[in-house]
Assembly symmetry: D2
């Protein structure tokens, strides 16, 4: 059975664009994160939950993006997330940003996050309930 992806749509806002009249390259990472937030909302999990229940958060340790075609103001984009690696302490998310208005792949990249203890700031094991939700949603083994 094939791995699933998580998809969610957004509109490119005026302030997201710059003087080249396209979305600024830094904002692709923000849209990845908006989608990551919605992914966890599906599991009824968010930062407050991670903090309160598991005493962790998920700082980003690496980010990468290749830009293929631009997004402009008012374009509809679809962020598609998959899991490249679900490690003991880290998650490597892959993401694609589709421009639905131009019917093009606008960008693809990845973001690596690590589970970190809120007090010690050290990497810790990803809590099993989180791994379990991700495994189930994405059809991971």
């Amino acid at each position: 059975m094939l791995g699933k992806t998580f998809k969610v749509k957004f509109r490119v806002q005026w302030v997201d664009t710059d003087s080249a009249q396209i979305m600024h390259f830094s904002n692709y990472f923000r849209y990845f994160e908006y989608a990551e937030t919605e992914l966890f909302n599906q599991f009824n999990m968010d930062y407050a939950h991670f903090k309160k229940v598991f005493k962790i958060d998920f700082p980003r340790i690496e980010a990468h993006c290749r830009y293929l075609s631009p997004c402009r103001f008012n374009d509809i984009i679809e962020v598609e997330i998959d899991i490249i690696e679900l490690g003991n302490k880290h998650i490597k998310y892959g993401f694609k940003i589709w421009n639905k208005t131009t019917e093009s792949l606008s960008a693809e990249g990845y973001v690596v996050v690590v589970a970190a203890d809120l007090k010690s700031k050290k990497a810790v094991e990803i809590p099993e309930p989180i791994k379990s939700k991700l495994r189930e949603f994405f059809n991971l083994n």
Copy 2:
């Protein structure tokens, strides 16, 4: 003796602009805040100091801006701050944003902040050392 103002220069960044090729209107408030930060840095005071020493922060309760002429990428702007009101619990800052590249007044406005207890979130008296620094710097009575 006339009231003084605090002035500090910044460069308009690419990401500050939008598809109209001018600085986005929301960013003027950010530049006001960058200047406010430098003002307090002059007093060796910042958010960490307010938090640790005085157990307060300064949430914004009102903001206003009139936009007079645009700023473009790479323009040099000067933010000029004065104190319109120094109340017991609030400060009303006036600000002007001068575009030094076009030699025009780009915007003027005000921001009202209130001293708030970090725990109760209630408005409290502005600590005397802060008022004293502001009175001295701005030649207030």
Copy 3:
């Protein structure tokens, strides 16, 4: 017959918040603008349309906001827009930002925009098709 308002919901994103763990005050103006975009999308009108068909855009000439209660990450907010003035050359939008998660009014304010000729940058009459759409939607006389 009472004036109507336009309402649209958004989620407060992680990057919208600051070290006080609340939405940064400048971002309220961005959320107003996201809602303004959706309002005109209802009329099948956007910046590209204004530019191509009417040779105008709508620069902001004034903005104001009073902040009443904070928004936090992942809160759902509803932006409610009404028309305070529909002038020959300007529109004064009122906006309220409701925090649906805390069931509070988070902020209220206004933004004044002016129709400006794209070449001369001078204020011009708002094209009748735009005024007509606004009058109809908001039940204005």
Copy 4:
């Protein structure tokens, strides 16, 4: 003779931080770009110059960053840029972001830009005056 680097300092602003009370990961790319702007300002070159004289701009085609230690509000950061590749049509910039307040390397990464004809949007040769300035400044062969 060793390759040179370009260095410029900035202050981490309040709005750059998020609810984790550290600089948001997307903003590192913005600070890289602020430094890139200052680099070209040293050559009396900017976007307006590229557009007017050379009819090109430099869209980003790839971006990468590894995050090593956080930056907090009011920290002083130094962005250090070097040239990893100076191709016929592309430039691969390396960057390091040093947190001068904590005396730590906060992040390192790279950004790849391509010279693009403003009309056709196709990749074109980087104009010789630009390559020449970069070769000279960075002691490239």
